[in-house]
């Protein structure tokens, strides 16, 4: 089966330690997590976790079933391949001398629609949002100028239009 990266949206009850439970499960079962983003969902008392994991379809099916065994996990949706809006935010501190500053700024704003949020005589901080591969691509382009620091949030995703990963969809326990 082909390995590819999967995006899972997991809705969980907001109990202390729930992220720990989920991560412990991934660790214990040897599932490889590339990115995690956690925050509140549209329902009070529910958090939304977005995971990007690597593996074949069978592994993702196992991840999903194992996640459902956790008491706080209410819904797991594999949104991979759906018509998705995907976003990650990154702050990038890059070296910028008087000579290079204009180049960095042009590259970042023209192509990647980054914003500048701080500047010192030697550095710039840029803020960029987009699908993770856009951020990867920007980092590649910026790297020659000297990246000093990168902070990324991890990917969040949402299905476009009427397709959704909300709680109203009842879990079908039949494998």
């Amino acid at each position: 089966m082909t390995q590819r990266s999967h995006t899972l949206v997991v809705l969980v009850e907001d109990h202390p330690g729930v992220l720990n439970r989920v991560m412990s499960l991934f660790r214990q079962r040897g599932f490889n997590v590339n990115s995690v983003a956690v925050g509140h969902s549209e329902t009070t008392g529910m958090s939304r976790m977005t995971f990007v994991i690597g593996g074949d379809d069978r592994m993702v099916e196992q991840v999903t079933k194992q996640l459902y065994k956790l008491l706080e996990v209410v819904k797991v949706t594999d949104v991979t391949g759906e018509n998705l809006i995907q976003r990650e935010l990154a702050l990038v501190k890059v070296a910028a001398t008087e000579r290079t500053r204009a180049d960095v700024m042009r590259l970042a704003t023209d192509i990647y629609r980054a914003r500048f949020v701080d500047a010192t005589p030697d550095t710039l901080i840029l803020e960029v949002t987009g699908p993770s591969d856009k951020i990867d691509s920007m980092l590649t382009m910026i790297r020659p100028y000297g990246i000093k620091e990168v902070a990324r949030t991890g990917l969040v995703a949402m299905v476009r239009g009427t397709g959704n990963s909300r709680l109203t969809v009842v879990q079908d326990a039949v494998a």
Binding site: V12, E13, P16, G17, N20, R21, S24, L25, Q28, R58, E61, Q62, K65, Q66, Y68, K69, L70, L71, E72, V73, V74, Q171, A173, V174, A175
Partner: protein
């Protein structure tokens, strides 16, 4: 049992002066906990006191319907609760103090997790203002037990004790059963509180599927109809869901032979003509051959563990697989499934029986019977040296296969599985998934206290028994009706067997010395005998059966006997070793 007074709680009266229960005393968390346990129908708790749980022990004498069994080590409490659960189907309860008391429960909790045993473990925790400070006897037991519990709780308010206990019991016994841990800080036990009314539980993220999908049942029935050589593999789920009758009906109606997993023993009477007995690494050759040849394999309440499958690519190579399990995560985990059926084994089999007409597979059944006619390996049948297989056969004969048999882990466990033809449900107690040495004696304690009118035999090795034999003291204190049988081969036998077969007889660290078991048991107050010859076996067994209270029989057996047949670890049926040189 009379509780002795712990020094720390100076106010407590001496055991001889029964404490008068002051009616006006405001109720505290500890009392709420006991009331919640009583409400769950708990009659026995296996435990060990300590600082963090003193408030609980302080109120325990007010609850005479709860029999507290003082073990000698918390590991014993956990395994005893496990044994209690396995022979009753009820939730086993164990109790320990914070820190070292709690960590001593780790092995039994893991044992219960891997065998899907309903268990509630209650641990004390340091006061909440100490949590996170590495206080005396503080340990993060909910963190430690995250991967080995079905769920665990840290109770932060006394008002949550009642609802949490209710949830814990519900979780432990529903769906796929398992251990649940409830950690309660000392200040919560001491806080003023009352037990509220039981609530109707609505756990948003926990809705086990009991009734299988009708379409899946129809598909399963169709697979069975199309089969020439169908085979059922019956696991622990049969016993956990009480599907014994439904299994028998399916086997008879559709004429399908049944293989049992190690934990499925008791799911179908082994004297039943369609029962093939145990499958897997040390399963019967005819049963494993049937798996090799079957064209439709119906796994029910079992999880295709590697001790059953061997090398997965060669397991049931010709079979389409119907897998019935209450845990959807088991389906497709190890073996690719043709028809998945998620649901309770009893309900699934009942629906399947209603769906199916009578079928016959005479040729298939006859060919299995033919393989079975090859007599099983009986080493040195006339040898003067005592053979472990012989002891198990005689024990089976003496008890008609009706006693509760609790084993430890090793060769004796496999001989017990093979030669003690246990044929009653919930009479076979063994650590299958984790393979926990030291399990046998305390689990037998739990089994005997749960079913005091039944005969209980603990079959243990001379290695494993040394891991928890301090529980002899508890057997004596409780006058538990346990007959301990040591299959004494002077080795860590199962490891020695692997060393012999796969590591050039390099018996590194598997010769094990031992105390004089007979004297030791006598010192603890047990009636004990040592048996070295075939002629004395029956007499000794009868002698132990006559005695009320715990006994010990030390059978000194041939040292280098092996368990056969054997499929080497990760091997396939084609590599089955039928017998020794």
């Amino acid at each position: 049992m009379v509780a002795t007074t712990p020094e720390e709680s100076g106010a407590a009266p001496a055991a001889s002066q029964p404490r008068s229960v002051a009616k006006a005393a405001p109720s505290i968390g500890a009392r709420v906990l006991c009331e919640a346990l009583v409400r769950e129908g708990v009659d026995t708790v296996f435990g060990y006191p300590g600082g963090a749980v003193i408030p609980l022990y302080d109120v325990l004498p007010e609850f005479p319907s709860i029999h507290h069994v003082l073990v000698r080590h918390e590991q014993g409490a956990g395994h005893a609760a496990d044994g209690y659960a396995r022979v009753t189907g009820k939730v086993g309860v164990c109790l320990a103090t914070s820190g070292p008391g709690a960590t001593n429960l780790v092995t039994p909790i893991a044992t219960a997790m891997l065998d899907s045993i309903p268990m509630v473990a209650i641990t004390g925790q340091v006061g909440q203002h100490f949590i996170g400070s590495d206080a005396f006897q503080e340990i993060d037991i909910t963190g430690i037990t995250l991967p080995i519990t079905k769920h665990n709780f840290l109770v932060r308010h006394a008002a949550d004790i009642g609802p949490t206990i209710q949830k814990a019991f519900h979780l432990a016994k529903s769906g796929r059963p398992g251990p649940v841990l409830v950690d309660i800080p000392k200040d919560v036990l001491l806080a003023a509180s009352e037990l509220g009314a039981a609530e109707s539980l609505d756990l948003v993220g926990y809705k086990p599927t009991y009734t299988p999908h009708r379409r899946q049942i129809r598909l399963a029935a169709q697979e069975i109809r199309n089969a020439q050589k169908p085979l059922i593999l019956a696991g622990h789920g049969i016993l956990l869901s009480g599907a014994m009758d439904e299994l028998k009906t399916l086997a008879e109606k559709a004429q399908i032979p049944v293989g049992l997993t190690l934990l499925g023993i008791g799911g179908l009477d082994q004297n039943h003509p369609l029962c093939l007995g145990m499958v897997g690494m040390h399963g019967f050759a005819h049963a494993n051959r049937a798996i090799y040849e079957t064209d439709v394999l119906i796994g029910v309440g079992m999880r295709f563990d590697d001790r059953v499958t061997g090398r997965v690519s060669d397991f049931a190579p010709n079979a389409r697989v119907v897998h019935i399990d209450i845990d959807p995560a088991e389906i497709g985990k190890n073996i690719e499934t043709t028809v998945p059926v998620v649901g309770d084994a009893r309900q699934a089999l009942a629906l399947l029986n209603a769906e199916l007409e009578e079928l016959r597979h005479d040729e298939w059944i006859e060919s299995i019977a033919e393989w079975r006619r090859t007599p099983p390996y009986r080493p040195h049948a006339n040898d003067a040296v005592l053979q472990p297989q012989f002891v198990m056969e005689r024990l089976c004969e003496a008890t008609d296969g009706n006693a509760i048999v609790v084993t430890d882990v090793g060769q004796h466990q496999m001989w017990a599985a093979q030669y003690f033809q246990c044929n009653k449900p919930n009479n076979w107690v063994t650590s299958g998934g984790l393979g926990t040495m030291g399990f046998g004696v305390p689990a037998a304690l739990g089994a005997a206290l749960a079913r005091p009118d039944d005969e209980v035999w603990a079959v243990v090795g001379d290695g494993g028994v040394q891991m928890t034999l301090f529980e002899f003291a508890t057997l004596v204190q409780e006058q538990a009706n346990v007959n301990v049988v040591i299959i004494n081969n002077g080795y860590l036998g199962m490891v020695r067997q692997w060393q012999q077969l796969f590591h050039d007889r390099n018996y590194s660290e598997t010769f094990i010395s031992q105390p004089d078991f007979q004297m030791l048991a006598t010192a603890y107050g047990m009636a004990a005998r040592t048996v070295t010859s075939r002629d004395d076996v029956d007499v000794a067994i009868e002698w132990a059966r006559e005695i009320v209270g715990p006994t010990l029989l030390n059978f000194v057996v041939e040292q280098e006997m092996n368990v056969y047949p054997m499929i080497p670890s990760g091997g396939s049926y084609g590599e089955l070793i039928e017998k020794g040189e």
